[in-house]
């Protein structure tokens, strides 16, 4: 059978797609893999877009782990380790928020410093 999400060819009766990790079982059957149940038609989010955005626009040191965990999500899915993929997915999301928080915090402090006139607004590189 072919995966409806990525088109990869899977052995008949596979529980998850070998390539993208999508749940291939019919709706009536929830998928318990190592105690983890993935709703039908869903894959494990890797938050890659947010990881990249938070790396470039918010906080590079916290964004890099987010991208690494995004890679780990897909790596674990490729290896068929759904529980590991879900754990990596949670880590990726956490690091995205950490990076976003640090970025937002530093911008706010920065704006405050400028409003107080401690730094001037003459330098204009963004």
């Amino acid at each position: 059978m072919f995966c409806p999400q990525c088109g990869a060819s899977n052995p008949d009766g596979s529980a998850i797609c070998i390539q993208c990790g999508r749940n291939l079982l019919p709706a009536a059957v929830p998928m318990p893999v190592q105690g983890v149940v993935l709703p039908l038609g869903q894959t494990v989010p890797n938050y890659l877009i947010f990881a990249i955005l938070s790396t470039v626009f918010c906080c590079l040191p916290a964004g890099i782990p987010a991208i690494i965990f995004a890679a780990q999500v897909n790596g674990k899915l490729q290896a068929g380790d759904l529980a590991g993929a879900l754990a990596a997915s949670r880590n990726a999301r956490t690091w995205c928020w950490v990076s976003f928080g640090i970025g937002l915090g530093s911008i706010l402090i920065w704006l405050l410093l400028m409003a107080l006139g401690i730094v001037n607004n003459l330098a204009h590189h963004y």
Binding site: Q5, C6, A8, Q19, C20, G41, N46, L48, I49, F50, I52, L53, T55, V56, F57, L60, I64, I67, I68, A70, A71, Q72, N74, G75, L77, Q78, S106, I107, W110, L111, M114, V119, N121, L122, A123, H124, H125, Y126
Partner: protein, 141 residues
């Protein structure tokens, strides 16, 4: 989080994105004033991998692809993919299903991460050809 609140948040994110784009189109971040200077650049003088992104998006909104490319080639290259991904994320929350996605093998994502970090390093090297990667460099040659 309930559905209504989720939609409000999504609408707020969408509207602030749109406002940001409109501001970026109207005001050039290269001029002092409405956009604050980057703290990292201000304190260290270093370019991060994203340096020049806002100026590049401003130039793209004006249709100046060459100028945008000179400011940050990585931003120009990745912008279509990032935009597609963001639209897909929005659709997931709206209708429960995003746009068709290509599954990226883990090695590709690691390579992407390495490209971003390397780009951030080499664009700070003050000699040819790496100085061409600094924001706006080719325009001043």
């Amino acid at each position: 989080m309930n559905e209504t609140r989720k939609r409000y948040l999504l609408a707020a994110a969408f509207l602030s994105g749109l406002t940001g784009l409109a501001l970026l189109g109207l005001y050039d971040p290269a001029r002092p004033g409405i956009f604050p200077p980057c703290p990292l650049r201000y304190f260290t003088g270093l370019y991060c991998p994203g340096c020049g992104s806002l100026r590049a998006i401003h130039q793209l909104l004006l249709g100046n692809v060459r100028e945008a490319w000179a400011l940050n080639p990585l931003t120009v290259m990745f912008l279509p993919f990032v935009s597609y991904g963001l639209v897909s994320e929005g659709l997931i929350h709206l209708r429960g299903r995003g746009l068709p996605q290509v599954f990226l093998p883990a090695i590709w994502i690691r390579a992407l991460c390495a490209v971003v970090v390397l780009f951030g390093i080499v664009r700070n090297l003050p000699f040819h050809p790496f100085n061409l990667l600094a924001p706006g460099a080719p325009l001043h040659l």
